[in-house]
Amino acid sequence: MTEHVATNETILVVGGGISGMTAALEAAETGKNVVLVEKNPALGGRTSQLYRYFPKLCHPVCGLEINLRRLKNNPRVRVLTLAEVTGLSGGTGNYTASIRIRPRYVNENCTACGDCERAVDMKVDDPFNYNLGQHKAAFLPNAMAYPQRYVLDPAIIGTADADRAKAACKYGAIDLDMQEETIQVKAGAVVWATGWQPYDAAKIQPYGYGRFRNVITSVEFERLADIHGPTGGRILRPSDGKEAKNIAFIQCAGSRDENHLRHCSRICCMASLKQTHYVREKYPEDGKSTIYYIDIRAIDRFEDFYQKVQADPSVTFIKSKVAKITEDEHGNAVCHGVNTEGYKRYTTPHDLVVLAVGMEPSVKGINIPGHIVADSSGFIEADPANGAVFGAGCASNALDVNRAVQSATAAALRAIQVVNKVAKAEA
């Protein structure tokens, strides 16, 4: 990875998830210089936090691995991690971005040997596992982290643990004096790929997320199923560690709701259908899934996936949006509502309730530096008023991985067109 000077023929890609990586690589592979900015210490974004993808149920490691290999082979992409764009000025063909880079306290000498991790005692919440577990304050963000370098949590700085970590490092990779810095980067076009965040389930008051420990979100469920997750891939209840075999999935938790998210988040139905496979995989004998839904929206051409799950005797579909959840004396989450097929009331206890939470843009349109046209949910619109700032992936709409990659490729093409014009004008 060579350091190149950013000019107004450079493309700035904000966000290093699957969309940002794709946009950066597509542009770089046509010969453009790209600066890729990622807020977290490693690339991969929410995709790397999934256990499996739909529809083929392969592991995200696969798709990401291909992109990481492309990235390692491409000197035109400069990756900045722990970095956030805090300001954007200028216009088409001539942008200047302010980028704040937080200290990693680990330099490029790191070989990811893990000696520092073994040397320290302090533990901090692990955001990669949605804080379901903790990790050491000297940590590798995840198993396939790129860059493959350790990070020190800021909480460790100034403690004896920090000195122990520094002493343990054989390569002189730990630099406790690193400071936050802000740099200016020039760019001709910007691909905004800051992705999505799960809707705050605690705001859906009747569902009791945050009050009942056995009510979790769909993204947390992904981590429970993953062998790198806090339970080592066993689906256990957070309250008592009991095996959760009778699991409810509640659709439209926050989505399609004027009180929460106005839009349909598109992926949640497919995500829950996919997650019923996890239940069967982990508990082939007596695993039981119940999907509470308004209508199943198996987007794109995935109706066959839906039909296969429907044919599975371990999965029950109940056409009803759950009205409220309570907790019984055994810690079970109890779903209350009315089955609209027959209008019968139900009160059904489950070991675990998974809320298929909606997607909202991580950076809402209104918070993007510059004046960006966004819809009422904050997703970036394709609008000439945006100049050469192009939304990609889930910053532009609620998309699955497949469509996010298509969207990112389209955004890269638009950005390439802009910097080509700049190059022609300067020639």
């Binding site: 004027e258 929460h260 009803s320 949006k321 009205a323 509502g337 609209t340 209008y343 019968k344 009331r345």
Partner: protein
């Protein structure tokens, strides 16, 4: 007129439009997406009291089940707790729609005559507008004797101890049965209510004619 046209005319479904035009807040009915949260959130256990929960009523309206909707007792059981309005993902004013349908059914003479809520509403209105004050004794007696003399006496005996307790605490005056107290300007309040009723009636009559 061909047989086809005659059949099309006969089976044309206009009930949703009728509800939209005649019922207050009725134009919201079409926004329901049948998620079932209103029914699930209803504190009235409709399996005994409600024949049809709100989202079923909305579906019946769309399906053109005019007779079933207008003659059911379901919407009369709404207690106005507003739980459904708070939770409805489409922000339908469900409580108001329930009252709107009930009022419309009553207005065109379709509402079940002896449904307790409807009966009580009529009784309350007559009771309060006569003197400008609610006569609680007459109101409760009227409700007791709704289903005949025998049932009324039985109901009255059941509540005997409560009545005696209220009398002891000076919260119930048996002489209220003869006339009772009234407001200062009885004629004035009656004229005011009559005028309001006329305005309301002419507005609704115009809608029904149009």
């Amino acid at each position: 007129m061909s047989a086809n046209t005659a059949l099309a005319e006969k089976y044309r479904n206009n009930f949703l439009k009728e509800i939209e035009e005649q019922v207050e807040m009725g134009d919201w009915v079409k926004m329901c997406m049948q998620c079932g949260v209103c029914s699930g959130s209803c504190p009235t256990n409709f399996q005994s009291a409600w024949e049809h929960p709100p989202q079923e009523l909305f579906m019946m309206i769309r399906a053109g089940k005019r007779e079933e909707v207008l003659t059911t007792t379901s919407m009369w059981n709404c207690t106005s707790c507003y739980n459904c309005i708070v939770r409805c993902p489409r922000k339908l004013p469900i409580t108001h729609i329930m009252h709107g349908i009930a009022e419309y059914a009553h207005r065109i003479g379709k509402a079940p005559k002896m449904q307790a809520t409807r009966f009580f509403s009529g009784l309350f209105w007559k009771n309060a507008t006569r003197t400008g004050r609610v006569n609680e004794l007459k109101l409760s007696m009227g409700l007791y004797f709704k289903d005949g003399l025998g049932a009324g006496i039985k109901e009255g005996m059941k509540m005997k101890d409560v009545a005696l307790g209220l009398m002891k605490a000076k919260r119930l005056n048996p002489f209220e049965l003869f006339g009772g107290h009234k407001c200062k300007d009885q004629k004035g309040i009656q004229a005011m209510l009559k005028k309001a009723y006329e305005i309301e009636r002419s507005r609704k009559a115009a809608k029904m004619a149009g």
